[in-house]
Assembly symmetry: C2
Homo-oligomer: 396 residues x 2
């Protein structure tokens, strides 16, 4: 079986993270990604660290397997090439500030005339409508604006950012859902459509029960460090050498836990009989538990908890993540072989499907314009002479 | 135009968060969701707080608009009903521990014989393969195991959990992408397939550049509080009354920022000329900036930064999020009118598409088995007598 998007062609005008991560997902699902880059300069992320041998691993890790065509969209000929390409593809993805495509004369309203089947997906900071749609966005900004920072961290610490770009990544995921659903719908309607995803909107969409918690008591939820808001004990404890996460999710596990740490006396203690009681008395309970957990190392506790069937986890640093047996068994660490950098490990595809055969390697990311000639020839039938001329004129 | 998944029927066997959030997304895209619940007990999340008038708002906020049929899957007749329903739907989603469906005699291999077009999506903690696939998972556990906790928080603080269930939510999003792409593919192949998404895998997939950062210097990335790893200044600063996020993303903004805070002298300072230099000397630079920002309130700085076009944001708490003008303009806060609870506000759909007309309300979540009779009649043609008998026998 071919991959699910095996016949889908995507014209990718995105830069940096939210857009390229989205088209990377589409690539993993089998789509052909034609990345449009500014000649000589390319995607901004080519200039973002970390670097190895002067190449951006940041760029490489989210643009593998894409093909790059360089086009100067400020020239008339460049715009013409783009319009021609639009007629040959199924999907266009862009993450410019709203209105940029219109200023270039390449807005959705014009492009859909050229290709009514086009699915046009725009990923932006604040979406294409509303009073603040024109403002610049950064991941950190939408994390602050959308509320996630207000519920992450410690009550007495400065504001704490989620340690990865959750603003960009979730926008990528929602955009990919929109694109795939529009592809499905097009099979019935024959029509494309526009998809408009704002990073800030996505931050609100993932707040989960924080919105309703606020409506019950009128108090904005606060950060809780690492403990669960309503289940106790369910947090990281300091062991002799490092922290260990112990989620005691129900009363049965509570008994197993008390036995495992040698505090059977707590099981029938009237203040700790139910989860509700344990949460009410957590300020009494947690110090009692801390006093026990500190006595042994994470490895020692892991052995004990493993034997009695109690869930637990160390706080894995990235090196441990990359060697975790389950993560490796799931093929979640794959390798790129880049001609300049050598072998680099990146994350694999978490969507395991019958139609996607697992592969342990990925193709490298393209150089700027590496596939310009190939794309102009195969998609648009340009001749070598025409291409040479366009190159001389600085169009490609 | 109908919604993109307007003709899609989903049999939803999921509980708690990762599964129900996924089928909520499918519902927003137009799918019909038939939620299968244990008679009398229902989805575990019905018993999770926050509560209002004895009803779980947690449950309500992610199950709105679904229809509920109660079936006791431990009875032979219950299994038969499920097998009959499988033949009438496009998609089945479950988030049991791997092997549970097989033990019930309802594994994918059997179900696909009944309906070769069935798209069977399993969302689980560790996926359906690998040495740890049978272990129980919680959001907190996969956050710890997958590395995100190791890069979130402060260098000197205890481990910090991301303040929402990023393990569940990202698994939902990846599963929804898999389902939509499989629906698209089925239009060409006529065949369904199995999708297998593990929460832990998804945590690895969203680590972004942390994996490659580690490979450059061999040092596992550490939490950085709220600052950007490679751009400076790009963090939250303490103003007179609260914190404000100031992302100075390029050299031009650096000049504007220095002028706005009355420190033009820093613009040409040899230690701070470029972003690279500012990041190298951040321990010198940040205290100088902190000394200025503390002098005015967040509102005062916001006015100043607004005038000069410098990006900035307060740390919005949930109450501020729910009244933010852009978030409201984007219809990202919608309302449910529940007969017992009254009006409750929840997050809207961040996937804005031509084919989805914005609606400011959502239907309430179902009671356990509220639609049992309707579904048995319309999907399977059961008579009132048959239904009464099944109810008496405790099957539904």
């Amino acid at each position: 079986m071919p991959k699910p998007l095996g016949q889908v062609k995507v014209l990718d005008l995105t830069r940096v993270l939210a857009g390229p991560y989205c088209t990377m997902l589409l690539k993993e699902l089998g789509a052909e990604i034609i990345k449009v880059e500014v000649p000589m300069i390319g995607d901004d992320a080519r200039h973002f660290g970390p670097f190895k041998n002067n190449k951006s691993l940041y760029f490489m890790s989210i643009n593998h397997g894409k093909e790059s065509i360089s086009i100067n969209l400020k020239t008339e000929q460049g715009k013409r090439i783009l319009r021609e390409l639009v007629q040959q593809v199924d999907v266009l993805v862009e993450n410019f500030r709203p209105g940029t495509m219109e200023k270039l004369g390449l807005g959705y309203e014009l492009l859909k005339e050229l290709n009514p089947r086009l699915i046009y997906a725009a990923s932006s900071g604040f979406g294409h409508t509303g009073p603040d749609s024109q403002k610049p966005a950064y991941d950190m900004l939408v994390q602050a604006m959308g509320g996630i920072i207000s519920i992450t961290g410690w009550p007495d610490s400065p504001p704490t950012r989620v340690g990865m770009s959750i603003g960009d990544i979730t926008a990528s995921l929602f955009t990919a859902i929109g694109i795939c659903s529009a592809l499905y719908q097009r099979e019935h309607t024959g029509q494309g459509q526009k998809i408009d995803v704002g990073m800030l909107d996505c931050q609100v969409a993932i707040l989960e029960n924080a919105l309703v918690r606020y409506q019950v008591d009128g108090v904005p939820p606060k950060p809780l460090g690492n403990r669960h808001p309503t289940i106790t004990p369910f947090q990281a404890f300091k062991a002799k050498d490092d922290y260990i996460v112990i989620p005691v999710g129900n009363d049965n596990l509570w008994k197993i836990f008390c036995q495992a740490i040698g505090r059977e006396d707590l099981i029938e203690h009237e203040q700790f009989l139910t989860n509700k009681l344990r949460t009410e008395h957590l300020e009494t309970l947690i110090p009692l538990l801390e006093a026990e957990i500190i006595k042994k190392t994470v490895a020692e506790w892991s052995d004990i908890f493993e034997r009695v069937g109690l869930p637990h986890s160390p706080i894995n640093t990235i090196d441990k993540v990359m060697t975790n047996r389950q993560i490796l068994a799931r093929n979640m660490i794959v390798e790129i072989e880049d001609k300049d950098v050598g072998a680099i490990k990146i994350a694999g595809n978490p969507i395991k499907m019958t139609s996607i055969e697992e592969e342990t390697t990925r193709k490298p990311a393209p150089e700027i314009g590496e596939h310009t000639d190939k794309i102009l020839k195969t998609f648009l039938g340009y001749s070598d002479e025409q291409i040479a001329e366009l190159r001389q004129e600085g169009v490609i």
